[in-house]
């Protein structure tokens, strides 16, 4: 694979930059509430000072979930993938206007959804389980964000087709390959939420339907909700597989296995959403069990990823003189903030994966469902594995896009370490609280059933939150100071794209064929979801009117 530099046009840089700008502003506002929630758990209630701007813990939690989990991720990902598509194919987008339309739809949707949330008319949390009923603009806005991201995805597909025509027989470059799979996964995954919105929630919120079927809606939601996490994760994997190795002076250990893992993620990420519904009353245990086994199977490509990524890092470190069984780790360029952030993200992600296995374990979930263990888990995955990786990417991408030198790389390194330490303290205590029985989505300070033995853990949640707050503030400072700095970069930012140890052209051709994999993906979805969805739809009961209970 040739990695000779390719220059992205200033116009495209600008377009990508706008995605990042929206993403980072969302993260800034959304993450502000994280520490507030943590402080509440520790007994320090700051919400009274936010009134009347923010009326409750739950309104803040809605902002936290929507802005972090939905907006920060989706905008960063569409922006980053625009970059990896253009840079990977070494050609501009085929229809830039199409992508622009997609982006504008996302922005309009975001504004539309944000208005009712800020007015306390959509305090339904980021899962918006009916029959809790938000203002219609909330549902329409979120739908537009998804539709906009589809349109951007179509723009990528057209670009891929154009590249293919110009390069018949050439292996798809890995970063572009991963980007196209990510977007394909997203298009398939979001069918669930789209059907939910269009056939139930939007007509109901507009008064056109008398009620909804909450169990059916939950099933649609988790059809999308689980693969959503792979939509977050795969862009991080693109960076870990194909960019981070270059940043540590190495190569990609196995191009073929990396591609194989991406295909497995595509096939396996949708047909296992019932693992979020193990304790739902309306889904038969047999289906739950089947999805549990399918969930375990995702463990396999995850382990492949762990191996290839660590092997690539080790290869790089040994090239730089690293020695010893574990000693090579010291030879990694820890002073590079982009590297430090991603390494620490990957490390915590590993523990997040182990916790995920516990959640996934069918009846073990009886102990964990909706306890603090769950947010403890996903702050290691999306809150660190993904978020800290994206932060790490932004440490080279923002200088690349703006042509400015990263402001104070030392501060950026400190930011990554603070996130790491804060998250360990925060997440560890959340996991333990969950095992002790503490519920999630609950201002525990107000709950009447808190035993004294929880107090020291609740205090640690607050401490972790405080450290994370400092880390977040440093990140924003670094980004803002870089963006507004008058100091142009002294040297050109090199885009890190690693070569593979083995020439990808020698990899098997079936890894570059789309039809069999896509057919397998759809077939497995029909098998794993078809009968149950058919049954739920056949017996649909629109018997739940809406409630505004906040």
């Amino acid at each position: 694979m040739s990695t000779q530099a390719y220059e992205i046009t200033p116009k495209d840089k600008n377009f990508i930059g706008w995605h990042l700008a929206v993403a980072i502003i969302a993260l800034a506002i959304g993450s502000l509430f994280g520490p507030l929630q943590a402080f509440e758990h520790a007994g320090w209630d700051l919400y009274k000072y936010l009134n009347p701007l923010i009326k409750s813990y739950y309104q803040g939690l809605t902002l936290h979930g929507v802005l972090n989990a939905l907006v920060w991720t989706t905008f960063f990902i569409t922006g980053f993938l625009t970059f990896t598509v253009i840079y990977g194919f070494k050609r501009p987008l085929k229809y830039p206007t199409l992508n622009l339309i997609g982006f504008l739809l996302m922005v309009v949707g975001l504004v539309l959804a944000a208005i009712p949330i800020l007015l306390n008319e959509a305090t339904v949390l980021f899962t918006f389980y009916p029959p809790m009923k938000a203002n219609w603009a909330f549902y329409v806005g979120l739908t537009l964000v998804v539709v906009g991201s589809w349109v951007e995805g179509w723009g990528f597909f057209y670009t891929y087709a154009a590249w293919r025509k110009e390069n018949p027989g050439v292996r798809t470059p890995f970063i572009a390959f991963g980007s196209i799979i990510t977007m394909l996964l997203w298009q398939i995954a979001t069918i669930g939420i789209a059907v939910d919105m269009l056939t139930m929630l939007i007509p109901w919120s507009l008064g056109l339907l008398p009620g909804v079927d909450p169990q059916l809606s939950r099933t649609y939601f988790w059809f999308t909700g689980h693969p959503l996490v792979y939509f977050w994760l795969l862009p991080a994997y693109i960076s870990w597989y194909a960019m981070l190795p270059k940043q540590v002076g190495g190569k990609m250990f196995s191009d073929s296995l990396a591609r194989f893992a991406f295909w497995l993620f595509l096939i396996l990420s949708v047909p296992l959403g019932f693992h979020h519904q193990y304790v739902d009353p309306g889904v038969p245990p047999a289906w739950k069990f089947i999805h549990a086994m399918l969930t375990f199977s995702v463990f396999f490509p995850s382990m492949l990823t762990a191996f290839t990524v660590v092997a690539s890092l080790e290869y790089g470190a040994r090239q730089n003189g690293g020695k010893g069984m574990f000693g090579w780790m010291r030879a990694l360029p820890w002073s590079n903030p982009s590297v430090a952030a991603q390494l620490l993200a990957g490390l915590l992600f590993f523990f997040g994966g182990i916790g995920g296995l516990a959640n996934a374990s069918y009846n073990v979930n009886l102990v964990l469902h909706n306890t603090a263990f769950v947010p403890g888990h996903f702050h290691l995955t999306v809150g660190t594995g993904v978020t800290l990786t994206f932060i790490g990417i932004s440490y080279w991408l923002i200088p690349y896009l703006t042509g400015k030198k990263l402001w104070q790389p030392k501060w950026a390194v400190a930011q990554a370490w603070l996130w790491f330490v804060g998250m360990i303290i925060f997440s560890n205590s959340m996991h333990i609280l969950g095992l002790l029985g503490a519920p999630r989505r609950t201002p525990l300070n107000l709950a009447p059933y808190i035993p004294a033995e929880w107090n020291s853990r609740l205090f640690q949640v607050g401490i972790g939150g405080a450290i994370l707050f400092v880390s977040g503030a440093i990140y924003l400072t670094v980004v803002a100071a870089t963006f507004w700095s008058k100091q142009p970069a002294t040297e050109k930012v090199e885009v890190p794209v690693a070569e593979a140890l083995q020439d990808p052209a020698l990899g098997p051709a079936w890894l570059d064929r789309w039809t069999p994999w896509v057919v397998a993906t759809l077939a497995l979805i029909v098998l794993a979801y078809g009968p149950m969805l058919f049954d739920l739809i056949k017996n649909i009961a629109l018997t739940s009117p809406g409630f505004r209970v906040w």
Binding site: M132, P285, V549
Partner: protein, 165 residues
């Protein structure tokens, strides 16, 4: 050309893949034994109800929620109605050693139902009935709490089971 078009797999990587597959089988076995050997099961579809009338219809057990004795001292059914932001009834007394089956439904939004220090923990979805059975071997007070966000006073939604010796 086709001779070269093979997937190159490093020896260590192959071992790693085999080890991962073995681990997977172990996890699946452990869960299956717990589910089918030890009978630790998740909720199954019980019945569907109309949340608009479930609390008022005289034929609905939830119009008169509470405890029903099946076999004195041994077996009880408990019907609990969840609504914003309370459980009806909020307090239940049973003798130690009894096996109790809970039937919980909601007349408004979704709620949760988790009995602390037991394996009873489920989602309460309007229109559906959530059911699990638990045996209380130790006397004491067990809180049951709402684990799903259900509106302004969600944090206060709880009840208790008093198990007498």
């Amino acid at each position: 050309m086709s001779a070269q078009e093979k997937m190159h797999v490093d020896r260590y990587e192959r071992n790693w893949m085999v080890a991962s597959a073995i681990l997977l089988v172990l996890f699946a076995t452990a869960v299956s034994i717990a589910a089918f050997g030890m009978g630790i099961q998740v909720p199954a579809p019980e019945q569907r109800v109309d949340p608009r009338t479930v609390a008022s219809d005289p034929n609905s057990p939830w119009s008169n929620p509470g405890i029903r004795e099946v076999v004195a001292g041994e077996k009880y059914d408990v019907y609990i109605l969840a609504k914003t932001w309370q459980y009806l009834p909020a307090e239940i007394s049973i003798p130690a050693g009894a096996s109790v089956t809970f039937y919980v439904t909601s007349m408004d939004v979704q709620h949760g139902f988790k009995i602390q220090d037991t394996n009873v923990n489920f989602q309460v979805v309007p229109g559906q009935v959530s059911k699990l059975t638990v045996k209380f071997t130790k006397a004491g007070t067990y809180n049951f709490i709402c684990t799903e966000y259900c509106g302004a006073a969600h944090a206060a939604m709880a009840g208790k089971i008093v198990v007498s010796p």
